[in-house]
């Protein structure tokens, strides 16, 4: 069986077999780039068209949470890379350890995302009937807004409405894209967590070593790709208009 790292009939060497697997993974990732690319394209066009509303919407996201999540996700990429290194150097116990760390960090990321989504839900920023971009400026107590923060937000919305009378509808578009993009990203993280669970189970049995580590390597590629998507989502969604606030 392939799982034990034996040579399949259609390959001449194990190296060739492994390279084919890596190549296949990259073909899949090329498809994933285009899958996310469609959303990035929709975002770019709408951001350009409704830049005021997108700026107001983006500045309402929590930068500390977004930045913390970026650090967590990059750290999980490091532990994933270390899991691959442990496998290729036959350090079997370390493989499991690093995979568990990666899974834990992935769960932290998703947990923070849940907190962020919940906050947006409380602040009436879920696209749909109750959407109101000015909810927090009208009900500062409900959002815990005070002093300078509140003044900034009230001013931003006032200026926004001057530049774009349809601010609410266009900010809603921003939040639709925000949830679509981060949601699709989170779905990839959940799938990645499932794959990691399987990897951890296999690594506990001592399956992965220098001779056979293709699953660790390929799921690692997937995990890093999901990290790259976030590396772009973070500045696009959270950062672009901060300097105007």
């Amino acid at each position: 069986m392939h799982r034990t790292g034996e040579l399949y009939g259609q390959f001449q060497t194990l190296d060739q077999q492994k390279e084919s697997a890596t190549l296949g993974m990259w073909v899949f990732i090329a498809q994933e780039i285009l899958f996310f690319g469609g959303l990035f394209l929709a975002y770019t066009i709408n951001r350009h068209t409704y830049s005021t509303a997108f700026g107001v919407g983006g500045n309402m996201l929590s930068l500390p949470l977004g930045a913390a999540n970026t650090v967590v996700l990059i750290l999980s990429s490091l532990t994933m890379a270390m899991a691959v290194w442990s496998a290729t150097t036959s350090k079997k116990k370390l493989v499991s350890l690093f995979l568990v760390l990666t899974l834990a960090l992935g769960c932290v990321f998703l947990g923070v995302k849940v907190i962020e989504y919940k906050q947006k839900f409380d602040h009436h920023l879920i696209p749909g009937h109750g959407f109101d971009i000015a909810y927090c400026s009208k009900n500062p107590a409900a959002c815990g807004l005070t002093g300078k923060e509140l003044a900034t937000e009230v001013e931003e919305i006032e200026n926004g409405l001057k530049a774009d009378p349809d601010l609410n509808a266009h900010a809603q578009l921003y939040y639709s894209l925000y949830f679509a993009m981060t949601g699709l990203h989170a779905l990839h993280m959940i799938i990645g967590a499932g794959l990691l669970l399987w990897l951890i189970q296999q690594s506990m049995k001592g399956r992965f070593d220098a001779a056979y580590n293709t699953p660790v390597e390929n799921i690692g590629l997937y995990w890093h790709f999901v990290d790259i998507v976030w590396i772009y989502l973070f500045p696009l969604l959270y950062l672009i208009n901060r300097h105007l606030a």
Partner: protein, 110 residues
Amino acid sequence: MSEHIVSPKIYGLIFLALMVGTALTVWAAYQNFGPFNIVIALGIATIKASLVILFFMHGKYSSKRTKLVIVCGFFWLAIMLGLTLADYSSRHPEPSRTQVLPSAPAAFRA
């Protein structure tokens, strides 16, 4: 095995570089560079993504065939973004949903 093993030291350095990039992009977001804010943000993101691809994903140590596939993925993305944005930016005036041609029948002009 002929595959290249990347040392933990390099992974650590790349991680540090990625952290510096993250700090830099957050700092830059609060400075007013006018139209260049977005360019700087995406530039830093692209450097970070390249580091991940080259080192964490072993792109630098892959075979030429694999490298070709990696580049293809981004090339396709560039085609999709480039051609679509070229179309959007060159169509003028942008038709509005409510705009109706003066020659349209009265029923459509309400």
